[in-house]
């Protein structure tokens, strides 16, 4: 027994380290595409902690590809998706992106969710001069010539979210987020906004991705007695956070949270009971009332099941495929530089309303929407910006953000 204790301890510690890289599988399809198909890469986490969110975006992207193919494809050719698994592991994203570009020779890649995965892929796309369409709201302060950002940047989601809280008289805010680039950068923006708008930040707490023990954090929040919590947690942690927030007796009336990474899909896993009444900030909800949306929702349910919901990142991923296809049609080729040039000004009526590509920073004009989680699990819009907001990833149009762009 005596010696074996050490012998057993060492491999366990070694494995604890290895667990971070756990679960890598990939599925490729379409090698048999032949000469007349256009290969496009779809790169999301299909396993690991981010799979909960990213699988749904993949589904939406595949639906868009299917629809475009059914309508005759692009430039007379069918799109052939090559699906890869980023496995919630950032180096894997870079590796799979390289594989898609170099080996599969895809025309473009749709993929990523966490900012960490985008930051890992960015140098790959810039070095190889390939295109990435990134479908998730993010922290801004970035504008790569080889990435199109179809989700919101800060001034289309976080700033409207703060505007709304201010309007509601919620001036004492507590910040809770996962410990990586998006929440940390987002909170810098929030603090700069708060300083300029007479809001007070009572606390700022980060937890590792995949963290599930929130009782201490909830205790800190409860002690600080904020008017509202601004929540930038990502992935499974949201489930634990909202369950434990509710068991601590915190209600949406007494202390609402404004979440920027919780959409319809996450609401299901969190449990409506635990999150009903809390606020979210996005550009799209399943309930958004546009003709394009009713078509999108019914097509998605028909393909993947009537119990499925649609969410903002799914819609942004779905849009990405259409926007790319439109740019390719305009350019008359899938060649990257030509597509980039043609993309500026491309405008489409999407489920969230009119989306226009800003040719300069390659972000989208998007309408901001604040919603409340309903007891049926869907999200009801309570405020919108009225018109698409011009993307401003470096917040140049906001005097209070002057110090951020530099850093």
């Amino acid at each position: 027994m005596r010696n074996s204790a050490w012998r057993l301890t060492l491999p366990v510690v070694a494995l604890a380290v290895a667990l971070g890289a756990c679960g890598a599988d990939s599925s490729s399809q379409g090698d048999a595409a032949g000469a007349d198909g256009i290969k496009v890469g779809v790169l999301h986490s299909l396993s690991g902690t981010m799979a909960i969110s990213e699988v749904t975006v993949r589904d939406a992207e595949l639906l868009a590809i299917e629809e475009i193919n059914a309508a005759g494809g692009v430039l007379g050719k069918q799109l052939v998706p090559v699906v890869e698994d980023g496995a919630s592991d950032w180096p894997t994203f870079a590796e799979k992106a390289t594989k898609l570009i170099a080996q599969d020779k895809v025309a473009t890649v749709f993929g990523g969710w966490t900012s960490a995965s985008r930051k890992a892929m960015l140098p790959v796309f810039e070095r190889r001069k390939a295109l990435l369409w990134y479908p998730v709201q993010y922290e801004g302060l970035e504008s790569s010539p080889y990435i199109f950002y179809t989700g919101a940047t800060t001034n289309q989601q976080i700033v409207p979210g703060l505007d709304y809280l201010k309007e509601q008289g919620k001036k004492r805010i507590f910040l809770v987020g996962s410990d990586y680039v998006f929440p940390r950068t987002a909170n810098k923006v929030i603090k700069a906004y708060a300083a300029a708008n007479g809001m007070e930040i009572l606390g700022e707490e980060y937890t590792p991705l995949g963290h599930t023990e929130y009782s201490t954090l909830v205790n800190k929040v409860v002690q600080a007695k904020p008017d509202a919590v601004f929540n930038t947690l990502n992935g499974d942690s949201n489930v634990a956070f909202f369950k434990q927030l509710k068991s601590a007796g915190v209600t949406a009336e007494s202390m609402p949270t404004m979440s920027v990474s919780v959409a319809e899909e996450e609401v299901k896993g969190i449990g409506v009971d635990n999150i009903a009444g809390h606020l979210v900030a996005w550009n799209y909800y399943q309930t958004t009332d546009t003709p394009a949306n009713s078509k999108f929702v019914s097509a998605f349910k028909a393909k993947y099941g009537a119990d499925k919901v649609t969410s903002d990142p799914m819609e942004a991923g779905y849009n990405a495929v259409y926007l790319w296809a439109e740019a390719v049609k305009k350019a008359g080729t899938t060649e990257v530089e030509a597509v980039r040039k043609a993309a500026g000004g491309v405008a489409l009526e999407r489920p969230e309303g009119l989306v226009t590509i800003d040719g300069e920073n390659q972000h989208m004009y998007k309408t901001a929407r604040i919603g409340v989680v309903q007891p049926d699990g869907l999200i009801k819009e309570v405020w919108n910006s009225g018109e698409p907001i011009k993307p401003d990833p470096y917040l140049k149009g906001y005097p209070w953000a002057a110090s951020l762009a530099a850093g």
Partner: protein
């Protein structure tokens, strides 16, 4: 000040979660020396059992699921032990790789069966609310952990089967010579150890996510408790879980969640320098 006092029950309830997830491991890892990386997936199986029983038991699914999950996870463990692990006794590194592979397979299986997104298990109405900072569901977990410890203690020390289990653990060859069917005892140990993981999984549905990756969030903590407590030591596991829970709670209170993890790991590493066998050691004359 109030917050500091509040951290005490929070620490104990974190300790209760740690104890629940580690209890099964004190059997399989501690007593049999099997590094079972699939232990986390048995926890996951317990959580999904509660989810599946929801259609039938509704809001009381968590309660109904406790015995069922014990049986489901126990059977999974039994099958794993009979078909694979028993061929690898005495080869911890091989078992580690084998069970890690099994854990990946089980995760993917869950993803295929239940989908990648999390599912929701409804908490029973009588577990909503709480007294002060201590929610009823945390008290339930604490009570469940204490109940499990008492049950295991009674089984180990008051039943013939439990005593045979201890005999095999302390000296396998001598036990075998004395007429104990060690293969049977191994099966039983593995069944109970895995079953306890299932019970932990049901409890975790009250506070955390229920999804295919569930096991990976808890497996490292479970091993930490067993290693720090001393292999095969029930009271070691209890004390280690409580100590780690309190340490976690106060470290996070005074710093943040990321730093608290670092502090906990640091303390354990330092502790193992002084006591590589953990808190308690089985004194045995066996030549191992």
């Amino acid at each position: 000040m109030e917050a500091i006092v509040n951290q005490l029950p929070i620490g104990l309830s974190i300790g209760a979660v740690l104890l629940l997830i580690a209890l099964g491991l004190t059997f399989t890892f501690g007593q049999m020396g099997v590094i079972n990386m699939a232990h986390g997936e048995f926890i996951m199986a317990g959580a999904y059992t509660a989810y599946l029983l929801q259609g039938w038991a509704g809001g009381q699914a968590v309660l109904v699921a406790l015995p069922v999950a014990f049986a489901v996870a126990g059977l999974m463990g039994l099958i794993l032990e009979r078909t694979a692990i028993r061929h690898f006794y005495g080869r911890p590194l091989d078992t580690l790789l084998l069970t890690w592979g099994v854990s990946l397979v089980l995760q993917q299986l869950a993803r295929d069966l239940f989908g990648a997104p999390n599912v929701q298990v409804q908490a029973p109405g009588w577990l909503q609310g709480g007294i002060g900072i201590m929610p009823y569901n945390r008290m339930f977990i604490l009570a469940l952990a204490i109940g499990s410890v008492v049950a295991i203690w009674a089984y180990m020390n008051r039943s013939g089967q439990g005593r045979r289990m201890q005999a095999v653990m302390q000296n396998r060859r001598l036990a075998a010579t004395s007429g104990i069917d060690t293969g049977r005892v191994d099966m039983r140990t593995f069944f109970i150890g895995s079953g306890l993981a299932g019970v932990a999984g049901v409890a975790l549905t009250l506070i955390g996510p229920v999804g295919p990756a569930l096991g990976t969030y808890y497996i490292v903590d479970a091993f930490l408790v067993v290693v720090a407590g001393g292999l095969g030591q029930l009271r070691g596991a209890v004390i280690a879980a409580a100590a780690l829970g309190l340490l976690n709670s106060y470290a996070e209170f005074w710093s943040d969640a990321s730093l608290a993890k670092v502090i906990v790991f640091g303390v354990i590493v330092a502790f193992l320098q002084f006591r590589p066998q953990g808190l308690f050691v089985v004194r045995s004359r066996a030549l191992t």
